[in-house]
Symmetry: none
Subunit: 201 residues, 4 copies
C-alpha cells in the first residue's frame, strides 16, 4: 500500500477521534505501524497532512460536481446525485468525512489552501448550479450564493448528527429526508411566506 495513503488514513482516524490538536504524530505513526520520522518523509508538517486531506477531498467533489454540469440533468437530479455521492464517500470513509466537518471550523486551519478551497470553491460550484437552475426556471428565485452555503452547511450538520446517534436511522432515510427538505426549500411554485398571508388578511 502507498505509504502516503497509509499515513493519511490513520491520521484521519486519529483526528476524527481526538481532534487536530489531540492527534499527535506519535499516535498517528503508532496507529499506522510506522516510525514518527517516516511521516516527515511524506509530509513537511502535521498541518500539511490536514491540508492534503482537504485538497484530496475537495478534488473528488469538484470533479464530480463539474462532471454533473456537463450532463443534462435537472437540478433536482443533480442535488440527488451529489447527496448520494457525498454520503457514499462518507460511508466508505467515515473519519475523513468527520475531519472535513470538524476541522474546517477552526480559524487557525482556515488559512490552509485545502481548507479554504473546500470552504469557498465547493459552495461556489454549487451556487453556480443553483443559478443555472434559476435561469432555467427550475427553482424559485433565491440568492444562489447564500442558498448554496445553507445547503452546504446543512449537509455538514446532518453528517455531524449522524456520527452521534449511533445511526438509529439509516443513511438512506436521512438522505431522503435531506433531499425532501432542500427540494421543498428551493423548488418553484406555490406559497408565499405566511406572514405575507397574514398581512393580506
Amino acid at each position: 500500500m502507498d505509504k502516503k495513503q497509509l499515513i493519511i488514513k490513520h491520521a484521519a482516524d486519529v483526528i476524527a477521534e481526538k481532534g487536530y490538536h489531540g492527534a499527535t504524530p506519535k499516535v498517528i505513526a503508532g496507529r499506522a505501524g510506522i516510525a514518527v520520522g517516516t511521516i516527515y518523509l511524506y509530509f513537511k508538517s502535521k498541518e500539511e497532512i490536514l491540508n492534503y486531506i482537504f485538497v484530496e477531498e475537495f478534488k473528488k467533489r469538484e470533479k464530480f460536481l463539474l462532471g454533473l454540469n456537463t450532463k443534462d440533468y435537472s437540478f433536482y437530479e443533480k442535488l440527488e446525485l451529489f447527496l448520494d455521492f457525498h454520503f457514499d464517500e462518507l460511508e466508505s470513509d467515515e473519519s475523513t468525512g468527520t475531519v472535513l466537518i470538524q476541522e474546517s471550523t477552526n480559524p487557525q486551519q482556515q488559512s490552509l489552501e485545502g481548507v479554504q478551497k473546500f470552504l469557498t470553491e465547493l459552495p461556489e460550484i454549487f451556487a453556480d448550479m443553483l443559478q443555472q437552475a434559476q435561469n432555467k426556471n427550475e427553482i424559485r428565485a433565491l440568492d444562489s450564493q447564500f442558498a448554496a452555503r445553507i445547503i452546504f452547511h446543512s449537509i455538514r450538520g446532518a453528517v455531524m448528527e449522524l456520527k452521534k446517534e449511533a445511526v438509529q436511522k439509516g443513511h438512506e432515510d436521512i438522505k431522503h429526508e435531506l433531499k425532501t427538505f432542500f427540494w421543498n426549500a428551493i423548488k418553484k411554485k406555490e406559497g408565499e411566506l405566511p406572514n405575507e398571508n397574514h398581512q393580506d388578511e
Copy 2:
C-alpha cells in the same frame, strides 16, 4: 466591572480569533488587561471558561425558546422570533457566536457539560416545537428530530458564512433568506418531490 464577565468577553474574542488551542491564558489575560493568575481566581481551568460560555448561551436560548412555547404563536412566528433573537445575540456579541459554532465541533470539547447541552438540548426543544406544529397541521409531515437538527446546523452554517464575507449582505437580508428557506422546506401544502412527478409522466 464584573471581572468574570471581563474575562469571558476577552476569552471569547481570542478563541473566536485563534481557536481554543491558540487562545492561551497569557493572551487572554493580556487582552483583558489583567494578570494570568487572575483568570484562575474566577475559573478553575481554561476548559471551564469555554464551558461557562456554552452554559450561559445555552441558558439564554433555552429560556427564550421555552418562553415562546408558553405563548400562542404559530410555528412560523416562533421560527421568525427565534431567528431574530439568535441574530440579535450574534450581532451584539459576535465572538461569542463564533465560539459557539467553532468549538462545538471539536471532539475533545464535546464532553463539556455546556457544549453537550447546547448541542443536544437546544435542538431537542426545537424538535418539540416542530412536533407540535405538525400535530396542529401547521407544517408538513417530517421527522421533527432530524429537521430540527438540520435547521439548527444550517443556522450555525449561515452564521459561519456571515463572519467570512465581511457582510456584503446585511443581517436583515440573511434573516429573510433563511426564514424563507426554512419555511418552504417545512410548510404544509402543495408539491411532492419532482421525481415522483417524473415517475407520473
Copy 3:
C-alpha cells in the same frame, strides 16, 4: 489568643500534614480563620514562620538542657529527664514535633538560623554533657560529639516511627526502651541501670 501564636500553631499543623511546600499561606490562613494578608503582618515570609518555629523550640530545649547542667544530676538522670521533657513536648504539641524532624532534613531550609541552631547547637550541648560524664567516669570512653549526634538523631527517628504506627506501644514504653538502649550503649561497664543502683542504696 496571641495572633502570632495562632498562626504558628496552624502553620505547624499544616506543615506537619503536607510538608513545607504543600503548606500554602492560603491554607494556613484558612485553618487559622484569618486572611492571607494577616500572616504577613506578623511574619516577613513563609520561611520566617518555619524559622520561628525552630527558634522557639530550640530555645525551650536549650533552656532545659542548660538548666539540667546547673543541677547535680548523674548523666543517666539527665538523659532520662531530657527524654521525658522531649516526649512531653511532643505529646502536648504533636505537629510542632513533626515539623522539627521533617523539615530539618531539607537542605534549602538548613540555611535558616533556627534550623541551624536546632541541628548544631542542641547536639553540642548534649555533647558537652556526655563529655562531662566521661570526665566523671560515669560513662565509657567515646567520641562525645559523635555519640551526641547518634543519640539526637535516634530520638528523631524514634519520634518519626511513633507517628506512623498509630501508637501500638505507649509513649512510656518507648521512652523506657530508648533509655535502656542508650544507656547500654554508653554506660561504663556492664551493669544495671543507674537508678536501679540508686534504689538499691
Copy 4:
C-alpha cells in the same frame, strides 16, 4: 552510556543539593547535559525519578540483608557487614545516600511505593535479624521491631552528620564508633566486642 542512569545520577545530585522541590527538571537536565524532554522519555514524572531511586536502593539493601541471613554469621558480624555495605554504598555515591535520608521524611513523598518500602520493609528485615539473634541468645531481650528502627534511623542520622562536617573524622572511625555504640546497646551482658573475643581465640 545508559541515559536512565545518567538522569538518576544527576537528579540525585541536584536533589541532594537543593531538595526535591528545588530540583527542577530544567536544572536536572542542565546538569546531565540533556534536554528537559529527554527526562520524560525515561520517567513519567519527576516523582517517578525519586521513586526509582528509592526502589533501586531498597532492592540493593534488601538483597544484601536477605543474603546475610542465608549464611551462618553471628549477629554482630551481620551488623558489621551491613554497616560496611551501607557505608561503602554511601561513599561510592554520596548524593543518593543523602536523598534517601532527606526525602524520606517528607509526608508528600511517603506515599511513593519506593519510599514506603525503604522506610518499612528494610527495618522489618532488620527486626527479623534482631529477633533471631535474641532467640539464639546472642543479644539481650529487647523489642526487636523498635530496636531495629532506632538502629535504622541512627544510621540515617549518622550519615546526615557525615555530610555536614566535611568529614573531619574518616568513615572508618565512624563505622567503628557506630558498631561499638550499637553493640553495647544490644549485646547480652557485659563484655567485649565479639570480634575481640574471636581475636582472643
